[in-house]
Subunit: 437 residues, 2 copies
């Protein structure tokens, strides 16, 4: 007698039943299709890397979450994002790549975070980045969000908002106000939504800013309106700072390019309050929210950085990229009932032999397959109701019944599994009909 | 100054340049498409599992190769195949699944094997299995190889051989000869190709078999011919053993079903010499070789088993399945020059703006994308030759030149990157042409 071990997975890890996996894969396929359509090339790096290489940049909180271990003498770690492996990949294969190097990477990453609902320790990221060799045109900063807008539209979201800002503009503004420690200011301003205006001003004054400076900051981040209004208001501030001016110019160029790529103000807006982390991005930054599901927060973020891989190479590799956190997005959408009417079967029909007609059913399935019709055949014995129940459980829309009468007459019974309606069809008619379902 | 860490990956691990990754993904997509077309459902289990669960079955060589480690109090391990996770999944979600449960799983597995060429420590398996609840019709054993044949044909292999045998037939035969320890005999016979006939007979006699029995074994495994000849020869042996007869009957049923599924003797054969491992499979067994690349060995193997998950559940879960070892197959095919004429780009055209016409080029790219034409735009400054070189490196077949003349006349220049030929086309003609490339 075998000892039975209770089957279960690790806390914080996740797997879906097939009907949800189909929906998840649909989203992943749509994202991949969009990425590929814009010339992004696939890469697939190892999940396990040398710890020394993966953690070359070191760094606080993330490092504690990394799954790191030794086997023999080898110190290894599981990747915790797709950016560090990209940096390593580009540095390692530099001479074999063509620049600008556009890559997409859709894969699992691992973080031993505190276990909480919808935050997984193993989750998918869907990244695109464009890496330049020495330089990278600003137009790329406008193409990336355009691709994301097209992707979300293809995913079935008509209403979303892609927010754009520019870090140079922010840094220049604060520098002009005589604020040397702009990082601390950004850190406080970044929390505005959470802590409110008053507390933000108080924290800014605690930093040593004058009341006037704190108020100017609040005025600045309160700038709103459509793209042209915001750009006009920024220029009207008359901030005499080179970095600020460069940031405004970049923002102006980026929104122009976005519109040339077919994105309208319905889908994007300039939002001066977003800063996206505080040390990585150096120019354009993006966040995306779904208007229907504001509670999800940003579903897609990214931006421009000066140097992808300074820990691995002396080459200057500026880039711009964005990432969709698919696992969390899917979890939240499912929770919100987003998929309740989605189809859950990948086949057109289940073929159900009755009585002793397995062979005829198999021959029919072969003809359907030869015509490119995805189908499955139920080969187990049993009563018709058991077979229909199986078809229902699979969520398949049509069943084809192959019984004695069908074999004799050469007319197959096609049953609509939703309505229960049945019709008799010749093989050719059946094939034409299913090809066009 | 940042310290530079040399970028490299772990020995035994692997990653491809994008042009190879595209070819790899093409194969993976073809396999997935075939699996889905036959009603196999996707699952995606965690790479990391509880060590106690993953290694419940325990067992020798594999266990030493497993990447196993602790984080906090948790003892975890990376999956080393897709069968154990399937067993765990089916046992865990038993009440939520419909049986027969058909699942496919295409994913990476991890084995810290001795490092050797073409044997990776991280590699893809592409598995399908059909799991019954209590019983599973023998017809399923004939469908699985038919799906594999269709898959290999879609992968572009016209000449391959799927070899079929039956373990019951083998066990019954040896039992009839009075051999109790049929496992030892099978183990010796399994090496026939490696050690030759004489050494095989010698080893059999060492086991304590009579010369007559050893000779009868050699006669048995020498049976050859087409399907009907082999089946006739098996029956002519007049082995009066129930298990043997059942095995022959199953084999007969399986080959009949295979043919109904559209597979001819060009693609499959009965091969009494294969046994596929020695304790897991209990009925039908399969191996597949590519006629053009015999040196690769079996590229796809599997078979029937009595009980998938007896370590996790008391439910009886008979099944049949097969696995394609895609990473090794791809490595070997690439080594053999199989892909030398394969296209390496996923886009239809690279749009190349000349002079100051980035905006016009972007507008054009938007129109192409709106028409479902995958394209990329080269946004960096530089001379035309640099831009053509980039197009060549990408392996893209067409370039669209957007210069002052094109913008003025409204006729775009389409360049064939292979021949260097150029033609001028209106936007509509360009779109029609690229849609049909």
């Amino acid at each position: 007698m075998t000892n039975i071990v209770t089957p279960s997975i690790l806390p914080g890890f996740n797997e879906y039943l097939p009907e949800d996996q189909i929906l998840f894969n649909n989203m992943m396929d749509t994202i991949r299709h969009n990425y590929e359509s814009f010339g992004f090339l696939p890469i697939d790096t190892p999940v396990l890397e040398k710890a020394q290489v993966l953690l070359a940049k070191g760094g606080g909180d993330t490092e504690k979450q990394v799954y790191r271990f030794s086997k023999g003498d080898t110190d290894m770690a599981m990747r915790f994002d797709l950016t560090v492996p990209l940096a390593r990949y580009v540095a390692q294969h530099f001479s074999e790549l063509s620049f600008p190097f556009r890559r997409y990477h859709i894969a699992k990453v691992y973080r031993g975070e505190r276990n909480q609902k919808g935050r997984y320790r193993e989750f998918y990221q869907c990244d695109i980045d464009i890496i330049g060799n020495g330089s990278l045109a600003i137009e790329n900063d406008g193409e990336i969000p355009a691709i994301i807008c097209r992707t979300f539209r293809d995913l079935g979201f008509d209403d979303f908002t892609l927010r754009i800002n520019n870090r140079k503009l922010l840094t220049g503004f604060y520098r002009y106000l005589g604020i040397e420690d702009s990082l601390s200011v950004l850190r406080i301003v970044d929390k505005l939504d959470k802590i409110g205006i008053e507390k933000t001003i108080a924290e800014l004054e605690e930093l040593g800013l004058s009341e006037d400076s704190a108020n100017r900051i609040m005025q600045f981040i309160a700038i709103e309106g459509n793209t042209q209004e915001v750009l006009k208001a920024l220029k009207a501030l008359e901030i005499n700072d080179e970095l600020f001016s460069q940031g405004v110019l970049e923002l102006e160029q980026v929104v122009q390019v976005i519109e040339l790529f077919g994105v309208t103000e319905k889908d994007y807006k300039i939002d001066l309050s977003i800063a996206r982390g505080l040390d990585y991005y150096t120019g354009t930054v993006y966040e995306t929210t779904l208007d229907e599901y504001p509670e999800i927060g940003s579903v897609c973020s990214g931006g421009r950085y000066d140097n992808l891989a300074d820990y691995y190479t002396k080459q200057s590799l500026p880039g711009v990229g964005i990432s969709i956190g698919l696992s969390r997005l899917f979890f939240k959408l499912k929770e919100a009932g987003h998929f309740k009417d989605s189809p859950k079967s990948l086949i057109k029909a289940l073929i159900i032999p009755m009585g002793d007609n397995n062979n005829e059913a198999i021959s029919l399935s072969t003809k359907l397959q030869d015509n490119g019709i995805a189908c499955q055949i139920y080969l187990e014995s049993g009563k018709i109701n058991k077979k229909f129940k199986y078809a229902d459980q699979l969520g398949v829309e049509k069943a084809i019944i192959v019984g004695a009468e069908e074999v004799e007459t050469g007319l197959w019974t096609l049953r609509d599994m939703v309505t229960g309606e049945q019709e008799k069809l010749s093989e050719n008619d059946l094939i034409s009909l299913l090809k066009n379902v």
